[in-house]
């Protein structure tokens, strides 16, 4: 477990260092993801420890968003004043984005004959 956590932190740290040193507007953790991907490709397998950590964290990913979400309490006045445009924008944009993304993905996939018929939900 210790080695897996160490590997994660090292990847993130290197990601942050690379992004800052290069001065590119890419998030550090995203570069960290690429670094870990390269490491796994070099190992040619996912170590058991890393599998354990991934299973534990990714199945409760949404917990990590709770602290930032509680920050909504700082903006009660603004939200009360602008709730109509905010709610309309969030609802329309989220649903539209999801629909458009899914349809483009599905359409291009079928055009290219990449569809896997056994993958039905």
């Amino acid at each position: 477990m210790v080695h897996a956590i160490l590997a994660l932190l090292v990847c993130q740290l290197l990601g942050e260092v690379i992004v800052r040193a290069a001065g590119v507007p890419i998030p550090g953790p995203v570069v960290g993801t690429l670094l870990l991907l390269l490491a796994l490709a070099a190992l040619r397998e996912v170590p058991d420890q890393m599998n354990t950590v991934a299973g534990a964290v990714l199945s409760h990913l949404s917990l990590l968003f709770v602290p930032a979400g509680v920050g909504i309490m700082l903006h009660v006045a603004r939200i009360r004043a602008e709730w109509v445009p905010l709610l309309a924008a969030l609802l329309v944009s989220t649903l539209l984005t999801m629909a458009v993304t899914a349809l483009v993905f599905f359409w291009v996939m079928r055009r290219m004959n990449l569809h896997e018929p056994e993958q039905q939900p």
Partner: protein, 244 residues
């Protein structure tokens, strides 16, 4: 607990101690999420009962009733918040496991990403502007489909309010997690990769968390979508805002 009556002074001291230590609000964060998760299960895993929404509502109520500031709360909750970074790095694991499938679907992925990312920014800012939102609100809204730490960074860069952005990002995530199954069923998008990718672009990590609960492959594509959209939104929003 020695049976002696508790003096008001002692209780005050206890409260002062608890307010100063991160332990109380860290525990409260996990407890609120555990309750939300339990409620979600009790409702037959209905996407309408979202564990994050329940946890946030519960915590805000407790903080307001106890007169605790968000800054005090965050002293404890920051340890959970910090894990967003390592969790993003961890997305490499499902990505590696499904690498062949991801490579095969690279073209549909990139096409959907580009269209979805632009739609997310333009439709949110467009609707809010048409309904008379203030400039600060518009700037805070623009990066709302990117994952929290990245969206906050973008908002800061373009003159929005990072903490408002964080709240809008979370609401976007919750809305997407609630809507994904009925919406994509209605549109007859039956492929797990397409479904996961869509919820990841629109609703970042909270969408991905929902996707992982439903199907591993959908979760993997949602995770990739979240990482790619974070990147593209960071490049796109400053550009689009420059035209406004």
């Amino acid at each position: 607990m020695n049976g002696a009556p508790a003096h008001a002074d002692n209780l005050d001291l206890l409260w002062v101690y608890l307010q100063q230590e991160p332990l109380l609000w860290l525990t409260a964060t996990l407890a609120a999420y555990a309750f939300g998760h339990w409620l979600h299960r009790a409702a037959g895993s209905s996407p309408l009962v979202n564990s994050v929404a329940v946890a946030i509502a519960l915590l805000v109520a407790i903080l307001v009733l106890s007169g605790t500031s968000y800054a005090t709360y965050f002293e404890g909750a920051q340890f959970v918040h910090f894990l967003l970074g390592p969790a993003t790095v961890l997305l490499a694991v499902p990505l590696y496991r499904n690498f062949n499938r991801v490579r095969r679907l690279l073209v549909p992925m990139l096409a959907a990403l580009l269209v979805g990312s632009v739609t997310a920014v333009v439709s949110a800012v467009g609707v809010a502007a048409a309904l008379g939102a203030s400039t600060e609100t518009l700037f805070s809204l623009a990066p709302k489909s990117a994952t929290t730490p990245i969206a906050m960074g973008i908002a800061e860069e373009i003159g929005g309010l990072p903490s408002l952005t964080a709240a809008l990002v979370i609401i976007t995530g919750i809305l997407g997690a609630m809507a994904v199954t009925p919406l994509l069923n209605a549109l007859r998008v039956t492929d797990w990769a397409a479904r996961g990718f869509a919820v990841g672009v629109a609703s970042h990590g909270i969408g991905a968390a929902r996707a992982f609960q439903v199907n591993q492959l959908a979760g993997t594509f949602a995770g990739i979508a979240m990482a790619l959209n974070a990147l593209l939104t960071a490049l796109l929003v400053p550009l689009l805002v420059g035209w406004l």
